[in-house]
Amino acid sequence: MEPILFTLFGAIAVGGALLVVTRKNPMSAALSLIMSLFAVAALFVLRQAHFLAAIQVIVYAGAVVVLFIFVIMLINVPENRLPIEKPTVYRLLGVVAAGLLMIEGGLASRNFSAPATAVGEVGSVEAVGHALFTDYLFAFEVTSVLLLAAVVGATVLAKKKI
């Protein structure tokens, strides 16, 4: 069962990602991004990481993409004022480099094998919570400072007058 579902959701994720980088209209790109992110959440479920899948959906669908759509609606660039994207040599080179990166990554991870330990519910609420509040407590606390800084920064940047 897993290979079929993996192929299905992997294809959706890659297809959505391709649409994101090829659409001209930012709104369609944002929707393709949601599609890709949901497929990745499904892959997390496939790897028994239910909690992370839920977080993925909440953080991305509930916050990040909503934010993107909000900004698209707010600045509402008319169709004829969107950047004109012509293929130049540098950009083609960039695409080639990224393609090479992809091939290299594939070659490097082709024969990766993990030690065959018992696979428990690694991504379940209990497992993540336990690891988060014991071994990674400091990182977790620092994250809150990061988020606070992001909130303050975003407010300061986007407000006209403070």
Binding site: M1, M27, L31, I34, H50, F51, A54, I55, V57, I58, A61, G62, A63, V65, V66, I69, F70, M73, S124, V125
Partner: protein
Amino acid sequence: MEQLTALIIQKVPALAVAPWAVTLLLIGIVAFIILQFAMVFAGFGTYLERKIAADIQGRIGPNRVGPIGLLQFLADGIKLILKEDIIPTAADNHLFRMAPYLIFTGSFAAFVVVPFGFSLIAADLNIGIYYVMAVTSLVSIGVLLAGWASNNKWSMLGGMRAAAQIVSYEIPVGMALIPAVLIAGSLSTQDIIRSQGGLLGIFGWNLFHNPFSFFSFFLYMVAALAETNRTPFDIPEAESELVSGYNTEYSGIRFGFFFMAEYADVFVVSALATACFLGGWQIPFFNAASLPPVWANLLSLGVFMAKALALVCVIIWIRWTLPRLRVDQLMRMSWKYMVPLTFFNFLGVSLWVLVFKGKGIPQMIASIFG
């Protein structure tokens, strides 16, 4: 689901060749039943809403189709299906068509973890409540899209308001449900309900567990009302200023989808409140596990539906009695009052569970009297 598959294969050995087909079929059947329930509930909800509204306003309400107007929703549904499905020329065609489905999917997917009865639940996920929060976030995207794709100022304003409101009130909703999670020590809806059983009857409910959880129930109901865009928080659809908000341009069955999603939302909110604070399907003074399975399921389904429908009625009463808030008041209420209050509640419940080892006030009183 796996147990059910195993049971069926045990009964009919011929099916053992393709166990995944049996699972798939079962999933399809369950999804179909829940979809039917959601649709019938939307119809019943509109009837109930119109009747109650009529009562409150001293009218009679629907009374022509069927006995006391009971079949009114069928007539309404047929009308919606037969109506012309208009797509404005200025609208973004694909997005316009897609938005209602996104919204409906978001509301409908939450039914997966609604615990209808002792063992009547589509999937007892171990992230239950968190799952509901996750899938309902699809609704905000759908609403934004509907507003944007209509290419209409009212729709756009309605969509923006709705999305801002849903995103802001998601925090109090989540935080207000945490007391139940902390007391049960699990996110699964079934575990939460099981933790409210015992011989204390209604005093085993989380509502009476401690002062903070009592308060939390009301915070949840207020925040959830706002999240489902119901009056007094229906600013996105405020008909006196925005015509009808994000669904202004919709007609025919697509408009029907918005309607179904709204009633599905109302039911999910009531069901979650019932499960988390009002004891869910726990039959008072009875241990459902000791009854024969069929009776346990039927009785617990009845108890659950009675509680959930009572809450639905409360939500409808609120809609027809309270005036609408203003948009800035709504945001201020979320960020300046609801969020701090729910955080305070969260701290209070955490301390309570820590200090009293998860015991509630009724349990303590009961232990004093032996």
